[in-house]
């Protein structure tokens, strides 16, 4: 195992603990400091429309029945389903979805969006590779597969591109539904269609389990909830299969990841290549969990932050040539491939 990989694994586990169990760890601290003024306006559902707090504890959208420590939306899949409310409120898709329904004025949203863009601008999709708890769960599934000695499925480039279109499709549908149910004429559907993506997100079933809270896994009360429950199970199955048989195939269609990916090009963290050093061994492309090949293919020097890159820096790590690949942070060299001799994992 190599240094970057170890660092990343440790970081992932720490983030998972912090983001998922933040509720347990920081709840008391938060209650004592509650009087402090936040720069973020607290977004509240307008009267008459549905809000998460209107759900009872144990319902689909609020199994833990707890509020988060910080009402904020970082660019990774931190979830509203976390036990005891978790550290942060939810992911950015949740944020958009919720506020489209509530028709919140833009000026109230600006601080949140600014923070989100700033975080993305600094680290790009590093959030996916290093922080996202769902990604960590998936990586654990991959780890299990490796221990079981099962061959990895490699999906062709086209398939992965199509996956991202699927992701955009799902996102578009979810946001459209959220917008429609925000209109006064359709407000009566809010109780069923509120946060449509959250209802099918794999985190809906995974996250509560971290706190040994029973996820709402068999809500068959009405036709719509039944549909959502079945869909959630299907998506979870897809999620598990994607991580178990492939590597991070799921991340190609994760809507939060897709939103992050818009900021990947031009992000502060830059992956760069010195083409003359390259011996076209393909180690980088082979090790890429997202199955990206540009790092391997390019014959010119440059910065190659691809949209789907989750910045795990595995390519930098496995490259056998000194100084060929490297990572910069706003033009400053963070680390480069060194000519050291390494042990195999």
């Amino acid at each position: 195992m190599n240094k970057i990989n170890i660092a990343r694994r440790i970081f992932q586990i720490l983030s998972l603990v912090l983001l998922v169990y933040g509720g347990y760890i920081f709840k008391e601290w938060k209650e004592s400091a509650e009087t402090e003024q936040s720069i973020f306006p607290s977004l509240k559902a307008p009267p008459g429309s549905i809000s998460t707090t209107k759900f009872e504890k144990g319902s689909i959208l609020w199994p833990s029945g707890a509020t988060p420590v910080i009402e904020n939306y970082p660019p990774s899949l931190v979830c509203r389903f976390n036990p005891k409310g978790g550290m942060f409120k939810a992911c950015i898709l949740h944020f958009f979805s919720e506020n489209l329904t509530w028709q919140t004025q833009i000026k109230y949203l600006l601080p949140y969006i600014t923070l989100f863009i700033l975080l993305c601008f600094l680290f790009g999709r590093m959030w996916c590779g290093w922080v996202c708890p769902i990604g960590t769960v998936g990586d654990f599934l991959t780890f299990l597969r490796r221990k079981m000695n099962i061959k990895v499925r490699r999906f062709p480039q086209n398939f992965r591109i199509n996956l991202s279109f699927t992701g955009y499709g799902i996102m578009a549908i979810a946001l459209t539904i959220s917008t429609i149910i925000g209109m006064p004429n359709f407000a009566r559907y809010q109780c069923y269609w509120f946060l449509p993506y959250c209802q099918i997100c794999p985190a809906r079933l995974i996250c509560p389990m971290f706190g040994l809270i029973k996820p709402n896994w068999k809500d068959f009360s009405t036709g719509i909830t039944t549909t959502f429950t079945i869909l959630a199970w299907l998506v979870l199955g897809l999620f598990v299969a994607a991580f178990y048989f492939g590597r991070r195939v799921w991340c190609h269609m994760c809507p939060v990841g897709l939103i992050n990916s818009w900021f990947n090009k031009g992000a502060g963290v830059e992956l760069h290549k010195k083409a003359i050093k390259c011996i076209k061994c393909g180690y980088c492309a082979d090790a890429c969990p997202m199955g990206l090949t540009k790092m391997y293919q390019m014959n010119n020097d440059g910065i190659y932050n691809q949209n789907a890159c989750i910045m795990c820096f595995r390519c930098v790590e496995v490259c056998p040539r000194e100084n060929c690949l490297g990572v910069k942070f706003f033009g400053k060299e963070l680390f480069r491939r060194k000519n050291d001799t390494k042990k195999v994992s």
Partner: protein, 414 residues
């Protein structure tokens, strides 16, 4: 692919047709000459190993031994099956002359030497020979020696592009792995593969240290010792080689001394004992070989196996990437890589010039000479191409050429 039996119906005719006597190449005197030049005490181990090998001319090991050619054949897979890999590449004049009985005169001298050795019955103790279809002569070699030995033919294709071929290479290697398992009744798995990779990675680690040391101080381990170490790795047990090389490295560290000779990069066909003519002339002409880009040394040792997926298929794929995609063999489509590698090595280690060494009749090396010459010339890297064969009669001419090259490099320095 199961193992193929070429010319199986004509075995008797061929064996009757070529009743070659045991040939006895004698390179001990040559070896002693280089041994005297050595300044590192623990090089003794390597010289001794080669002397034993040359004396016995056979392999007497508890493990079954498997012969192979080229980097394309994954040594790690052979090691994982608990077999002893023996690299058979040789450039021996006596054997080459004997081999002309089978292979015609104007064929690559490596192939002639190998034919000579096989038909001279020097490789009786080998259990299996794995021949890769890298170049045309090697492909036909599989047929030429199949009446004498069990052959496994491994075809890597000629395209070194990872994206299109990785799956094919993986399946080829898996077939080989399965074949070896069945043939020798072994049942290695992931653990054995990983431990084999550990061994070769350890070797890479030591080689990189030596490589680094020699680029800075070419005299710390002299060029003959360097190639002797590489030749010894053809047949020595890998752990033993690692131990000895580690010792050599630690002793060489104390011998660091700066010298003023032009440091050059030797690119091209491999230098294999006993054909040390080129490095002999190089030494006499006052040039210091700082590094090399050759398949037996750099190409074989420099890249580690990078295991990302530590499943069985993942390891086999990693081996394919190391051995085929990362290969510097000009049989594959990788001239751009070669040019990049030369330019980069020269710039990185601040070398004075490039010698492109071409063993006559290796067409794939020869064919790219003019292009490389122009590429390097435009970048002001002094370049000379040397074309020669196993014979010693052109030593004087080579010396003139290399001395003129040295004078040129020295005048550039001023």
């Amino acid at each position: 692919m199961t193992q193929k039996k070429f010319l199986d119906n004509f075995r008797d005719e061929i064996q009757k047709g070529f009743v070659s006597d045991r040939i006895s190449p004698n390179n001990i005197a040559e070896l002693q000459k280089y041994k005297r030049k050595s300044e590192i005490p623990s090089m003794e181990n390597f010289y001794e190993a080669i002397e034993n090998f040359e004396n016995k001319k056979t392999f007497e090991l508890e493990k079954p031994s498997v012969g192979y050619f080229c980097n394309i054949v994954p040594e790690e897979i052979i090691l994982a099956c608990d077999l002893h890999p023996v690299r058979l590449c040789c450039e021996d004049q006596v054997c080459a002359q004997a081999g002309e009985e089978i292979a015609p005169g104007d064929i690559c001298c490596v192939i002639k030497s190998i034919c000579g050795k096989f038909y001279g019955r020097l490789y009786e103790n080998l259990n299996l020979v794995i021949i890769p279809g890298t170049c045309d002569p090697k492909t036909k070699l599989a047929e030429l020696i199949s009446p004498l030995k069990e052959i496994y033919f491994l075809d890597p294709g000629r395209d070194s592009d990872y994206l299109e071929n990785a799956a094919i290479w993986e399946s080829r290697y898996t077939e080989l792995f399965d074949f070896l398992k069945k043939r020798f009744h072994k049942n290695p798995g992931r653990t054995q593969l990983i431990s084999a990779c550990h061994k070769t990675n350890k070797r890479t680690e030591i080689f990189r240290k030596i490589y680094q040391l020699r680029t800075d101080y070419p005299d710390s381990i002299n060029v003959f010792d360097y190639y002797i170490m590489i030749y010894a790795s053809f047949f020595m047990e890998i752990e033993l080689w690692n131990d000895f090389a580690e010792k050599v490295y630690s002793q060489a560290l104390e011998k660091k001394k700066t010298q003023n000779k032009p440091r050059i990069l030797l690119v091209g066909t491999p230098v294999i004992f006993p054909n040390f003519k080129i490095i002999d002339v190089l030494e006499q002409s006052g040039l210091a070989m700082a590094t090399d880009i050759q398949c037996t040394s750099f190409g074989r040792f420099f890249n580690p196996v990078e295991i990302d997926e530590d499943t069985e298929s993942g390891i086999i794929r990693a081996l394919a990437l190391k051995n085929i995609a990362g290969s510097i063999c000009p049989c594959l489509l990788n001239l751009e890589k070669m040019a990049n590698l030369i330019i980069d090595t020269v710039n990185q280690y601040n070398l004075d010039g490039v010698i492109y060494y071409n063993l006559r009749l290796c067409q794939v090396f020869e064919i790219q000479t003019a292009i490389l010459r122009q590429i390097l010339k435009q970048r002001n890297i002094p370049f000379i191409s040397i074309k020669t064969d196993l014979g010693k009669e052109d030593t004087g001419q080579l010396k003139t050429r290399l001395e003129a090259f040295r004078e040129m490099l020295e005048s550039h320095r001023k």
